[in-house]
Point group: C2
Chain length 194, copies 2
DNA sequence: GTCTCTCCATACGGTTCCGTATGGAGGTGG
DNA sequence: CCACCTCCATACGGAACCGTATGGAGAGAC
């Protein structure tokens, strides 16, 4: 863990901060513990950054790029809206990105984190809504379903990170995601009593 | 705010702790700040409690009772499963309980909070699944939809607390909840292109 | 070799919290 | 009225941080 590099740059600190967010949340972005992990001291940190908040904002910019921009770029290469949505769902449920997302959302009361969360929800729901509109939903319904999908995503990663026992595995997880996708993409169903 | 009561009991500290969780999260459960708010000092606290964790556990027991037991008792007085589910949705979206729920979930990495979150998700999803089963869904599908509903709830309160601008108001909120409820309670819809 | 500039180590003071020790203040029983 | 018991105030030591000050260590310019 204490892999000493002869000299460090700001990017090393930013990457370490993002890793720490995934493991311990915002509290993990602490100068002295990070310095220990990087095998250096605060002297190095305060050479590259003005203060802790500057590091946090750099980490959040990196998060924007990795956790929203890159994902949407990749997914957007799919040929049609249905495939794009499907690829998006696979990408955000299958990988190990959940901890960072959950911990950041949990710290959205911090003045530097709140704008990042706003940017994320805006861009992500807009992208989903655009796909739904392309699938034939009228714009208002597309917006509602996009928000619905995003809320479900947030709750899902919350459960995955905080209470993993509550989330099914394997085939049961597949069946669960099938139920969710059918509900999100299906026709506005009439009320049913089963 | 500093309403001095001549003598305090454990319940005063527990209530203050739960209020602090709603406002500032787990970090708000700090002995010295709470003492200031209650117009007393740490001397009082450490008379009634062994340490900070003891206060936290008392607050979590109080949370169990207020935020799960009481709600489910009230809702269960409704005459039929559909009405119970509807009352449950109204109860959990309309009130100001969201901040406490969100802040507690955000602190589920704490060893005392994690069991409380497990208890909550277990009891709540079991209750929802029971209503869905009574509505005619087969048990496996009822479990899936209950978890789906709970994930959506978690994401929703997360958005309400952290990024309120992202959640619609008034009539738009009604329309949104209508879409959500239709999807959660509707027939397993066939895939639609609009 | 020495000068200089970049980068880091160490030491310090300040803040906020936890938990302990100890000395009361104030009501209650005898 | 006095001894006691419950409850609280004050003072202290310790831990984990942040940010600053200052003295180098190392590498390139010349």
């Amino acid at each position: 863990m204490v892999v000493r590099k002869p000299r460090l740059g700001p990017d090393d600190w930013t990457a370490a901060a993002l890793t720490a967010i995934g493991e311990q949340g915002l509290a993990g972005v602490a100068v002295e513990p990070l310095a220990t992990r990087l095998g250096t001291t605060k002297g190095s940190f305060y050479w590259h950054f003005a203060n802790r908040d500057a590091l946090l904002e750099a980490a959040l910019r990196s998060w924007d790029e990795t956790y929203t921009d890159a994902i949407l770029r990749t997914v957007d290469a799919e040929p049609d809206p249905a495939a794009r949505l499907r690829a998006l769902f696979v990408a955000v449920t299958a990988s190990d990105r959940a901890p960072v997302e959950v911990h950041l959302h949990a710290a959205a009361d911090h003045p530097a984190v709140a704008p990042a969360m706003r940017r994320a929800v805006t861009r992500r729901t807009a992208y989903i809504a655009a796909q739904l509109t392309a699938l034939g939903f009228d714009p208002a319904e597309a917006d509602r379903r996009a928000l619905f999908a995003y809320a479900t995503y947030l709750g899902h990663i919350q459960l995955v990170v905080r209470i993993p026992e509550a989330v099914p595995h394997g085939a049961a997880l597949e069946a669960y995601l099938g139920t969710v996708l059918a509900a999100l993409l299906g026709q506005p169903a009439a009320n049913g009593t089963g």
